[in-house]
Assembly symmetry: D2
Homo-oligomer: 361 residues x 4
């Protein structure tokens, strides 16, 4: 397996949904950085389920227990490790899965890869629960980036085709999203989205959506060309989040339908700085930050766990077999994934900045 990420900043994530604990080890943070534990707790709470009727009923404490790497909440240079105990579980919901793989989950692929030895309980290491340590590590990076004037803001861009407004054109309102229960800019659109989710839930179905993320305050020159550019780094981290199916930067797939004369971003001098008058490039050129806001969007598939009867197979009989899933599942994971996207971006950017010596305390 490779649940490890990073060149200078090395993140290792461990844990399965129903193992004793899940957690992370983060190596490479500079010494002397004081973590705001309250802020970290608030950040992680944006991810925690059980907050409202949209999410899974499985409530989790999600409190990080730090094991090492800090002295008086300040990084001491040694690897930072933290765990979250798994306390609220209901394993009997998953007994059928060992023999009958759930469609669009990792049951079948991991069964073959790990020759039947994989931990199936709760989805094992593939569970969305593993985004909790990702958010822990990423949340610390977010704080570190903030001291460098860099901020990461994500919001729901759409749920099942219902759109929020564009983030880059509504930056001030975007900044307020992190304190909302439902992370959208336009609350009216948010209401429609929540109706869509509940409607799907009542139908025993699920929906997906798109998350947009904007990073402001980037200096120029972060990222390496070719295989270690910011797009490569951010993608590598973001695809570590379950249910992600696509990523696009700046104008993204829309650029494929634009003329160069429309898509190119002209330069101009403004207040003594070189900026672009439009930002179709989404803040990254040649893999390197341009100083303009980094803009990217992530496609999240509808939750595979639905409550309708589905067609599957019995692995032991090698014959078709019906499957009905019980248990507690999110009809839509998009709202919960919003802080995860911020965390992933923060990890990628922090690692890139450490690589070119642009992190200082």
């Amino acid at each position: 397996m490779s649940s490890c990420y990073g060149n200078i900043l090395k993140l290792s994530i461990f844990g399965q949904s129903h193992s004793a604990a899940i957690g992370f080890s983060l190596d490479g943070l500079p010494a002397g950085f004081k973590i705001d534990m309250d802020e970290l707790g608030s950040f992680m709470a944006r991810r925690a389920p059980g907050k409202n009727k949209l999410s899974t009923a499985r409530s989790e404490a999600d409190a990080l227990e730090f094991l090492s790497g800090l002295v008086a909440d300040t990084t001491c240079g040694a690897p930072l490790a933290a765990i979250i105990r798994n306390t609220n579980v209901r394993s009997s919901d998953y007994s059928e899965i060992r023999d009958v793989p759930r469609p669009s989950h990792a049951d079948f692929t991991s069964h073959v890869k790990y020759k039947g030895f994989q931990d199936v309980s709760g989805g094992g290491h593939f569970s969305g629960r593993l985004t909790a340590p990702l958010c822990g590590a990423g949340g610390i990076c977010l704080q570190l980036l903030k001291t460098h004037g860099i901020n990461v803001y994500a919001h729901i861009k759409s749920i099942h085709g219902i759109d929020d407004v564009n983030g880059e054109d509504n930056i001030e309102e975007l900044k307020a999203v992190s304190s909302k229960t439902f992370p959208v800019i336009d609350d009216a659109a948010g209401e429609k989205m929540q109706q869509e989710i509940l409607s799907a839930k009542e139908n025993g179905d699920s929906v997906g959506g798109i998350i947009e993320c904007i990073v402001t305050g980037m200096p120029v020159g972060v990222g390496e060309p070719m295989f270690d550019g910011l797009e490569n780094r951010i993608s590598s981290a973001v695809f570590g989040i379950p249910a992600v199916r696509g990523i696009e930067f700046g104008a993204g797939f829309e650029a494929a339908s634009m003329f160069g004369s429309e898509h190119n971003d002209p330069y101009t001098v403004k207040d003594g700085n070189i900026v672009t008058t439009t930002n179709n490039h989404g803040g990254i050129l040649g893999g390197i930050s341009s100083g303009m806001s980094i803009v990217f969007r992530v496609a999240i598939k509808p939750t595979p766990s639905i409550f309708r009867e589905q067609d599957s197979v019995s692995l032991s009989k090698m014959a078709d077999e019906k499957l009905t899933i019980n248990g507690r599942h999110d009809p839509c994971i998009v709202p919960r994934a919003v802080p995860c996207i911020e965390a992933a971006a923060a990890l990628a950017i922090t690692d890139s900045m450490l690589q070119c010596g642009m992190i200082s305390l």
Copy 2:
């Protein structure tokens, strides 16, 4: 810089557009594999410009000169290195760029990152020319994968909104694309696309498009969860190609508008194998191959080099300045990028298969 890719299969790409040579070093191929040099030459020729009036007039030999790693065209276990001499250049077209960055190129970002020492000639290390060594290394991987029953087929999915038919539904025709001059399935659509490109060229403008890639014959179980899954690996390689702005797998961004009941792929037993009846997951679940075809799409932005006057700045004067680009530039790089996408996918899949011991000779 990090022009290096891979865990077991380590690829290093070097060269600038106008340096003495460009090339690659590829370490980790198993010994005893015989390369079909004619096939490799044909593959790389799909990328070479100067073939038709659509592409840049700068013709290049693009013949790989192997320096090491082979004995009688057979891998000997030592690192494989090859170069391509840069012979056909016209440096005087780029003299203005040092002071006036071209919009949507890497001129400005690399200028800041490398403090003015970057090689600006022809775009330096950011030039599309560097996809030649990528195709050399990837072309070898394509042959190796073929001996394992795995094939990689890419085609133009759209140019400036003009669509080709879907690849997965037209697999046999898709296989024939690699021998065509213009890499589409539906030649009528291809004609319209080529008209669109020429029209843009006549207007001193450029267009972009989308490339779709399908990988058939994958075994189950390739890829590692979380940060080393096939999506992470393929993205890391694909974003190493200039002008790529987005990537999506399976249903991709469309999944964001689907219900779970629509998007989930049911399992069934067919001819003694477990397959899915639909393939919205695009052959990858939990980062691991399912045995179904891998399907992904890549967004390519319109070529930044256009011949209209553009707004830019003078770096020395720190003031606005107009810019008109001369020289020889592709009005659309999408056709040329098709083999590059296949090469990138082949590299990622070969590395992943080496990592789980599934490559054998």
Copy 3:
């Protein structure tokens, strides 16, 4: 920091001497391997202090608490993580160190590197205590290698110039060493060594020694040339153990005084296998295993913590200052380091074997 090791098998070690816990995350083990917990406990007990009057009085439970990666003691393919709670501490012994660095410890270098934010308590992340997680991870690898017919045996080769007999010539007796309290082959020599250690202890001084390690049952062909050969891999792991000052393979430094005609190992066919009649090469040629036993020796410096007054400086006053260390310290860490050397070798060899696909369950 980089407390991470490995290419396929990725080990992350975290913890400081007085943090809440120390532990490791180990990613890359194949699924389906059942760990013998009793054997692992016995292995780690060989390292634990407080067993006899030779070692530090700080007794520790050292029981590994597994957090993830196992189902019924069997690897499930997900990262394996385990911690050891730090329970028995006495921090008041270290208060003086923040200002007055202990000679030949990492106090001064870490103080400068981490700008005073390092965790000084008990030596922080540099403490010998961190060899406990190393032994946990390495102990699991030892079991895995054993199923492949590979065994790792280390013993004390010398303490302060008092020699044990040679391991390769006394293989059967060497195998019995792991069950002894004092890990030597020749118990008479062992008695003299223990006297030497106690004598040093009574003098408030310390001694060092040499550990020899032999790995039997290696297949031919493990290891990669140049920078990933077995010597490079084993050295990288072994120098992660505190107090290591040198490493030599086969005839080692003695080879520098031999003629080629003496040092070369002739080949012969024996029982249908190709072996060498002598083993000056210590089982490794060109970085690759030859099938003969791997033989290497490690130099361990005398414990820096001695109870005599020493000359040091006050960092705050930037002036000379005397230092007397109190607390509980090993007069000789060599006996405790013996299992650590085995663990390090096992990690390096397991990773190398995974890299060339030679691990199978």
Copy 4:
């Protein structure tokens, strides 16, 4: 294979003894550094054979041909690649080796690992010739370190038991060694060594020796704890040089016979800096540089290629067979390895300094 080294500074070495060329790609150097090509040529000439009757008669130009990464001899930020054409070969000397492995060479191990497909000519990728690109890349790092006040000086410490004086006590004379034909401090000892080598040559035999390397001007704080310390990094690079059998730092193996009271290095304030009054730690504590000179020694085995008849086997017949080597071989490679050791140290230190942001132009 893994002929790749480095975290930030990524070095890839390619080539076999008789392939078209050997060379390297070096990625990660900061832009704007001007290489002194004459100095680099002089440095590499210290390694080149054919200079005197001590070395192999196979003379090679060894001139580096740069392919990329430089503009006007100044690094431009893109990967630096260079090759050396192999022009002077005599392949008929190696025809017998395919079937009869040379004792203490990598013939047998590479034959098994690469299933007979390895390039045997001239020792293939295992040839000492591959130290030429190592010296090219390392030579550039030496120049970069020099601009930071860091210098790397190596000399022959002993040949077949005949000792040179200690380097650290004779620093000024040590600095003069690089301009000598025979790299020792004490020329009288050097004369005896050369006699010893010629005597061995006349006997159709070979000798080995020890190289000592001293790095002056190190700042405090370079290197990471545990697995990425300076000892780990330097060892990893040094064991990439053929014929290396051991490495020790500071007092090294001698520390194993010292008391702590003898081995510990007391601190004192001198001229406003914290230094140690002795340097048994060899400049590295806890993997981190202390500011004192780094001191290490490397054991080089006697050249395996000797001209006496040796016992070996026929791989095809699986039976014992005699072997007599012809050709042109060094009776002692130690003098040629001296600059290689400096190169390896420079690579390791440069990479470590880049990792903690201590390289600046």
